[in-house]
């Protein structure tokens, strides 16, 4: 019988508590950073659904983040919509687009899947880059934030906005954690492991891949919408392939196949590159060495390796967690 | 010319955390066949993999023709004149049947009076492979892959042939054929180390039988003795 408090959830709880605490104590920029990283973490989790659980390594996931951002920008700035329905529509739109894309691409595997998702996202990028109506490559400024006065949160206060993003992240985590520990999640793991066998057991593999592709797209859309609100603007840059690439690296660095791993990767890589780049303009050198070191000394990723040692260690076992 | 061609002394083998072989010693005399029998999971494959250095985490001594080989890499061991037919067959799916064979082709290392193996001769032995020469390795039927694996081992013109369940998945008639041609080869002086689940095949070909159980050698003797050892058969093979 699995325990309610798996290591993952334990660490997740710790991270959230820490961020909440920090969002009170750090100054303005720290709060901005918390919001930024939290949004990134949501996006990383959505990518991990594909990479870590379903084995679909996408290099075009930022397209859906971008679509979420643009939908939020266009609907509120150009059409004057309220933010709340806009967010829902942004998520739905990201889902819809990922469904349309997914139908075609989930048949592909490995590098071919990587490249076709890349191609798709580059086409979206090119579209928004050219489209003057949505600001072309200068992007679209002036995006507002969701009004949360009713909940006692002043969104223009960065601490409150950080809290808001944290709450969203927690909800996303809980939802995805449930999803991935459900039979549906188990199917995905099976598909990742051996697609053919799953098929011969009677599982319509493509449908499940499509389903997770859409879910991941929607969560990415949500993070895009949040990002647009956080930064107040959106530009085609947000959907360039390198954005997907960097987040993919974060997910791998954190450790694929667990949502917390994705979050840890996002947090550590972002914080590190922020810190190092303030110290030296050669921050890439250090980040590069850091990535290499991870593979050499923590081949399951930062969190993955940490979790492995924890599970082997005596105190974790003695706490009654024989296997989780 | 009876000398120990292969000698394994006090072999210990490990996977990650588990200690699988616990002090195995066997030896194979030149020109003879040693059959290793044992249950699923007894450690037979581990033994062969250790000899071939496919498994590197191991202790003890392994000697081939009097020379220590346990610290050599696999390709050096093989080039001493040892050929291996692994239980998973190790067919290269990216290569055609012909390429699978050609890649292995090598001259004999020792001076022997055995007839040389080449494409023609293995095709003669397994005509089916000739028909499928241009097929990809993955497109063969299970039995055909087994034939290819054996044929490929022969292409290296070995002095010692190590076979892991060579009859697995083969039709009864082919098993008989293989049995008789291995007997031929033995007569020509080829030494063999054989792991088998098919008892009748193993006993009829072998000069010596070793029984492996839970990572240790439990019994060694001739096939005739083995047939009488009901106790051994029952405890370690479950028959």
């Amino acid at each position: 019988m699995k325990k309610l408090f798996t290591l993952d959830r334990f660490v997740a709880l710790f991270l959230i508590a820490l961020s909440l605490l920090l969002s009170e104590s750090v100054e303005y920029y720290g709060q901005e950073l918390i919001a930024e990283i939290t949004i990134l973490a949501i996006f990383a989790m959505s990518l991990d659904l594909l990479v870590g659980y379903a084995g679909l390594v996408s290099l075009g996931h930022a397209a859906f983040l971008g679509i979420g951002s643009y939908a939020t920008g266009i609907l509120t700035v150009q059409y004057g919509w309220e933010m709340f329905p806009t967010m829902l529509i942004s998520i739905a739109l990201a889902g819809l687009v990922s469904a349309l894309v997914g139908i075609f691409v989930v048949r592909l595997e490995g590098i071919f899947f990587i490249m076709i998702t890349l191609a798709v996202s580059q086409m979206f990028h090119a579209y928004f880059l050219k489209n003057r109506e949505f600001g072309g490559d200068d992007g679209m400024p002036g995006i507002q934030r969701l009004d949360l006065e009713a909940f006692g949160l002043t969104v223009f206060d960065p601490a409150d906005f950080a809290k808001f993003t944290l709450i969203v992240a927690v909800l996303v985590y809980i939802g995805l954690d449930l999803l991935m520990s459900s039979p549906f999640g188990r199917y995905l793991i099976g598909i990742h492991q051996n697609e053919n066998r799953m098929r011969s057991l009677g599982v319509p593999v493509e449908q499940y891949k499509l389903a997770i592709f859409i879910i991941a797209g929607m969560v990415a859309g949500l993070s895009g919408s949040l990002q647009a609100q956080h930064t107040g603007f959106v530009s085609p840059d947000a959907m360039f392939w390198t954005v997907s690439g960097v987040v993919l690296i974060m997910v791998i660095a954190g450790g694929t196949g667990s949502l917390v791993g994705a979050v840890v990767g996002a947090v550590i890589v972002r914080l590190l590159s922020h810190q190092i780049s303030s110290l030296t303009e050669h921050w890439m050198l250090f980040m590069g060495l850091f990535f290499i070191a991870i593979v050499l000394f923590a081949s399951d990723g930062i969190y993955g390796t940490f979790a492995k040692y924890c599970r082997r260690s005596r105190w974790w076992k003695s706490a009654g967690n024989s296997s989780d | 010319m009876s000398r120990k061609l292969l000698e394994v002394e006090n072999l210990q083998a490990f996977y990650d955390l588990s200690h699988v072989l616990q002090g195995v010693s066997i030896s194979v005399m030149e020109g003879t066949v040693l059959s290793v029998l044992g249950r699923n999971g007894a450690g037979k494959t581990t033994l062969l993999n250790s000899i071939m250095a496919v498994l590197k985490k191991r202790e003890g001594r392994i000697l081939y023709a009097g020379k220590e080989i346990q610290s050599l890499p696999a390709y050096k061991i093989a080039s001493l004149g040892i050929a291996y037919v692994p239980e998973t067959r190790g067919i290269f799916p990216s290569l055609t049947v012909k390429e699978n064979l050609e890649i292995a082709a090598r001259k004999s290392v020792g001076t022997t009076n055995r007839e040389t193996w080449n494409l023609d001769r293995v095709y003669q032995l397994f005509p089916q492979l000739k028909d499928r020469a241009q097929n990809g390795g993955a497109q063969l039927s299970g039995g055909e892959q087994q034939m290819l694996s054996i044929a490929r081992a022969l292409m290296t013109n070995p002095d010692l042939l190590i076979l892991d369940e060579p009859t697995e998945g083969l039709a009864p008639r082919i098993v008989q054929e293989i049995e008789s041609f291995l007997t031929e080869l033995k007569k020509e002086g080829l030494t063999m180390l054989l792991v088998e689940q098919n008892l009748s095949f193993a006993t009829s070909l072998a000069d010596q039988i070793a029984v492996l159980g839970k990572g240790q050698i439990k019994w060694v003797g001739s096939p005739q003795q083995f047939m009488k050892e009901m106790e051994i058969q029952h405890t370690w093979l479950g028959v």
Binding site: G190 | I174, L199
Partner: protein, 246 residues
């Protein structure tokens, strides 16, 4: 229960299934034998839809599934094991089996409840493990299993799907004599209502479980008949059995 009508398949000039037909009644146990490369596995693949037939029809329990994909056919009731191990190699034995059990229970659309809450699935999987004699290695990742144990699991996965027609492709190959015996007994002990189609080269198994045998050769049915008929057939001996084992 299962009907194959004039299935045909060729690879280039090689005809691997030459209008093969076969009919299984409910509860029937049939063996398919034949020389290596005769087309037995291909025939299985044509039935399950892993390979698309050039022509011919497949009917499961009165339902024509000819145009359907392999997963649809599996849902219609075909369960199979593979000749070449086809497992979830990074998962443990129990996770392999419980995944298959979950599929059998059609749980794929359940996303709101933890998998671990389905105790019956776990029990199911444990029972299966016991049936195929893998209780000892329940938590071992499959890639760390010995080959024979993997073969046992292969059969376990096929059983886990609770099929109407169970198709086993050389289930006992690679198993020790002891395990072969266990497997034989297991197959014999399966419910009488289960239809079984089995490919084997081990004649003890073939003769032990089936009443009727279909012999394939060069992609065609060479003969189809009772155990006795096949055992005594000259052409089967010549092409397949050889002389020793008669």
């Amino acid at each position: 229960m299962l009907k194959a009508e004039v299935l045909r398949k060729s690879y280039g000039s090689l005809l691997v299934a030459n209008d093969v037909s076969l009919q299984l009644e409910k509860g029937e146990r049939r063996a398919v034998i034949g020389p290596n490369g005769a087309g037995k596995t291909t025939f299985f693949n044509l039935l399950t839809g892993e390979i698309k037939a050039d022509s011919g029809r497949v009917i499961i329990d009165g339902m024509d599934v000819s145009g359907q994909s392999s997963d649809a056919r599996a849902r219609a009731g075909l369960g199979r094991s593979f000749q070449k191990n086809n497992l979830f190699t990074d998962l443990s034995v129990i996770d392999n089996l419980s995944t298959a059990s979950a599929v059998a229970a059609r749980l794929g659309k359940v996303f709101w409840k933890p998998f671990s809450a389905f105790r019956e699935i776990r029990e199911d999987a444990e029972n299966l493990a016991e049936m195929v004699n893998l209780t000892e290695v329940l938590d071992t990742p499959v890639r760390n299993l010995s080959y024979g144990h993997q073969r046992q699991l292969e059969v376990g996965l096929a059983l886990a799907t609770k099929p109407k027609v169970l198709m086993l492709d050389e289930p006992t190959s690679g198993m020790s004599p002891e395990e072969t015996k266990v497997m034989l007994d297991l197959i014999i002990s399966l419910p009488q209502s289960l239809t079984i189609l089995i490919i084997e080269h081990d004649m003890d198994v073939v003769f032990g479980v089936t009443e009727k045998i279909t012999v394939l050769d060069y992609g065609s049915v060479l003969i189809e008949g009772s155990v006795e008929e096949v055992r005594n057939s000259q052409v089967v001996r010549k092409r397949y059995l050889g002389d020793a084992k008669a």
